[in-house]
């Protein structure tokens, strides 16, 4: 399946936590070697979606409809052993606040040895595995001598985040999933993580999928972007389309306008209100109560569907899609 086709496909997936749907009818496809961003505020279902890529949705969450395919194989059909293989060799994840993911009572090197022992078939000898990890540490701009024997308490937050990335890369995954990779880091460490992820993509050809609420990070890194709101996709497109297209979802526009920057306009806008509870969704468009472009006649009554233009730029908004629908109607006549 290494023919440049999609490496990860999410096909009409719904993830339920009891009565609520954290993710609803989401489809996306990530090409080999692509940098893909999943964007939204807290409570939009973006982390849950990322967890489903490795089949690690925390209980009681279940994928109740649709399927996730990695390199063409449906992951729900995998045996436990195959799933372990998938997590080791195909897809790796760096969880949110990964700086808290290291074991505080054993050294970093010790933890790496544990991983190598649990997956003895990845490297011919443990020594080679260790040497590979040292190269990874250099890739994430850390000195192997300093890190190997260190306990996590001796490392700064930024260093721990980078160690977590190196550990995730240890078994040579094809795809790296990161949940909020820069949240809680200072700007200098954010910049480092950005540079590292770019290197992974540019020099190793790694497929990177990351989840964030920060559109500045998306601008710096992503090639394709999926914007989620209250469990549903509202826009999918290239990073150029998300930032510059004329037809865009008002939620994506609002997320961009909320970033305080040192450059350009100083004016920033907050998004009024908050993400609705998934148990009390408003009728019609889920973003309507917060939307500056809302139209009472349609937005509060009919849920918009995700429509594509000729270039596969998908937007789910009645107002943004108005011209598109008109064009389609004319073309169909």
């Amino acid at each position: 399946m290494d023919d440049g086709g999609p490496v990860v496909e999410v096909d009409n997936v719904t993830i339920r936590f009891g009565p609520l749907k954290a993710v609803e009818e989401v489809s996306l496809s990530v090409q080999m070697g692509e940098v893909y961003a999943i964007v939204g505020e807290s409570g939009c279902g973006k982390s849950t979606l990322a967890y489903s890529l490795l089949n690690v949705v925390p209980p009681p969450g279940v994928v109740s409809a649709g399927e996730v395919r990695v390199r063409g194989r449906s992951i729900s059909a995998l045996s436990r052993k195959e799933l372990n293989e998938l997590r080791a060799v195909d897809v790796a994840i760096v969880f949110q606040a990964a700086m808290n993911a290291l074991n505080p009572v054993i050294t970093v090197g010790h933890q790496v040895e544990h991983i190598l022992q649990a997956h003895p078939d990845v490297f011919p000898t443990e020594k080679e595995g260790r040497e590979y990890f040292e190269r990874l540490l250099q890739l994430v701009r850390l000195s192997p001598e300093r890190i190997w024997g260190a306990f996590e308490s001796r490392l700064s937050g930024g260093m721990k985040q980078r160690v977590a990335i190196a550990v995730a890369l240890l078994l040579r995954p094809k795809v790296l999933v990161l949940d909020e990779p820069t949240t809680a880091l200072d700007v200098l460490n954010q910049r480092l993580v950005i540079d590292i992820l770019r290197d992974l993509h540019d020099t190793l050809g790694m497929t990177v999928i990351f989840v964030t609420h920060d559109l500045a990070l998306v601008a710096e890194l992503a090639e394709r972007v999926a914007v989620m709101y209250a469990g549903r996709l509202v826009e999918v497109g290239t990073v150029e389309e998300i930032f510059y297209a004329r037809r865009r979802h008002p939620y994506a526009v609002a997320l961009i306008e909320a970033i305080p920057s040192v450059m350009g306009a100083r004016h920033i806008k907050s998004i009024p209100g908050q993400v609705p509870s998934l148990l009390e969704l408003p009728p019609g468009c889920r973003f309507a109560p917060r939307c500056p472009l809302v139209r009472d006649d349609i937005c509060r009554r009919v849920e918009p569907s995700l429509l594509s233009d000729s270039g596969h730029h998908l937007v789910a908004c009645h107002v943004a899609n108005e011209d598109l629908q008109l064009e389609n109607a004319v073309a169909g006549r």
């Binding site: 809680a184 200098l188 609420h213 930032f243 920057s261 040192v262 350009g264 806008k269 907050s270 908050q274």
Partner: protein, 393 residues
């Protein structure tokens, strides 16, 4: 008279083994209803500074003065008044609220202890405070526990708790860095509106110049590096005309919410950059010298004092070669041009990039053979190599 002044404060935690103090001879002044933003990376001592200002720790040397009086020499009554007048909003609203107390209990404790209002007026005061921070002002909300609130609501509650004592100074320590982007702006706006309505002064601690630019308009910015103030001045000026290389580094590191500009700048970043980001402070000479692209022998031998610099007034920097640091305005100009449709895609940016570099060279300030080095950090490597060649021996 300043509302609060930090005068030549040096502090070291007794448990640390490091020789370098957490704060080293730090001074700053906060005027009534003004904003002083303290900016720096994690571990630069900005949180310690906040702790000393609110009286949570006593400095090893130097003084913190409130209305001219050393806070560690106050009478019991004065101390109570000072503690009431200087409040703090911490970074993590999940940690700074007691999970066992309802909204009502959280807000009531300070009101009763400091006798801010009469007991029978407490209820009205609670509702007034909730309205003040745009929270739902009703009895149902007062009965909620922190775990029933969102991150943004919690941080608003923390702000309400601080405001309940009618403070004159609020220390906001990374108050919005844990919040989602959308919440962040609304909490910043809330703090700004309280400032104008209640003549409140802020010490605003943050690592993010984007947030600082928005919050501290008309105020002052203090840039700290490993316990030392390296630059200080009017907010707008420090951001558009940084005079310390570290300030520029912080500004330059901020992710740009504009894909075309971000990709254009990508080529300017080289493998040298990370040394600057993660390096330890220099033990001799200028504390920033081992991370600085402009460093020369003088920097490694002699620490520069914090002195007035161009374009002044009231702009001070601790650097021997402040004229070599480029203005941020150049980048701002580029940003304004960037979102036009003339660039077809992210790949066609090299020629543009070259011209940008030339422009910087043309505009380089005097003595600035090394000034364009910031464009390509690699050039800084040459500068450093040249400097070490020149060294005798």
């Amino acid at each position: 008279m300043s509302l609060l002044s930090v005068d030549n404060v040096t502090h070291r935690y007794p448990t640390t083994t490091s020789e370098i103090p957490v704060l080293n001879a730090v001074s700053l002044e906060v005027e009534p209803s003004s904003v002083v933003a303290v900016v720096g990376e994690s571990g630069c001592g900005k949180t310690t500074l906040g702790r000393l200002v609110v009286g949570l720790a006593k400095p090893m040397a130097g003084q913190v003065r409130y209305e001219g009086k050393d806070i560690w020499g106050l009478s019991k009554k004065e101390w109570q008044m000072y503690r009431r007048s200087v409040q703090v909003v911490h970074q993590d609203p999940y940690a700074s609220l007691n999970p066992g107390l309802t909204v009502e209990d959280t807000l009531k404790a300070g009101l009763l202890y400091h006798r801010v209002v009469r007991r029978r007026d407490v209820r009205d005061e609670l509702l007034r405070l909730l309205r003040l921070v745009d929270l739902e002002a009703g009895p149902a909300f007062l009965r909620r526990y922190p775990h029933q609130l969102s991150g943004g609501q919690r941080q608003r509650l923390v702000v309400a708790r601080a405001m309940s004592l009618r403070p004159r100074l609020v220390v906001a320590d990374e108050a919005v860095s844990m919040l989602d982007v959308s919440m962040r702006v609304s909490v910043l706006d809330l703090l700004l509106s309280l400032r104008s309505e209640h003549q409140l002064a802020y010490i605003f601690i943050s690592h993010d110049f984007g947030v600082v630019r928005y919050f501290s308009r008309g105020g002052r910015i203090v840039v700290m590096f490993f316990g030392v103030i390296v630059e200080e001045g009017p907010a707008e000026q420090v951001i558009s005309h940084p005079r310390h290389p570290y300030t520029f580094l912080l500004l330059d590191a901020i992710p740009v919410p504009d894909p075309r500009l971000a990709r254009r700048r990508r080529s300017e970043v080289t493998s040298k950059a990370e040394e600057r980001v993660t390096g330890e402070p220099s033990p001799a000479g200028c504390i920033f010298s081992n991370r600085c692209p402009f460093a020369e022998d003088r920097c490694r031998a002699e620490a520069p004092p914090l002195v007035e610099t161009m374009p002044g007034p009231d702009h001070r920097v601790a650097c021997w070669f402040p004229e070599r640091v480029p203005d941020l305005e150049k980048i701002v100009e580029e940003t304004v041009q960037a979102p036009t449709a003339e660039i077809p895609d992210g790949l066609a940016m090299r020629p543009q990039d070259e011209s940008a570099r030339e422009r910087t060279v043309d505009n380089a300030p005097s003595g600035g053979t090394f000034a364009p080095a910031w464009d390509g950090h690699a050039v800084a490597g040459h500068a450093r190599a040249a400097a070490s060649d020149a060294r005798p021996g």
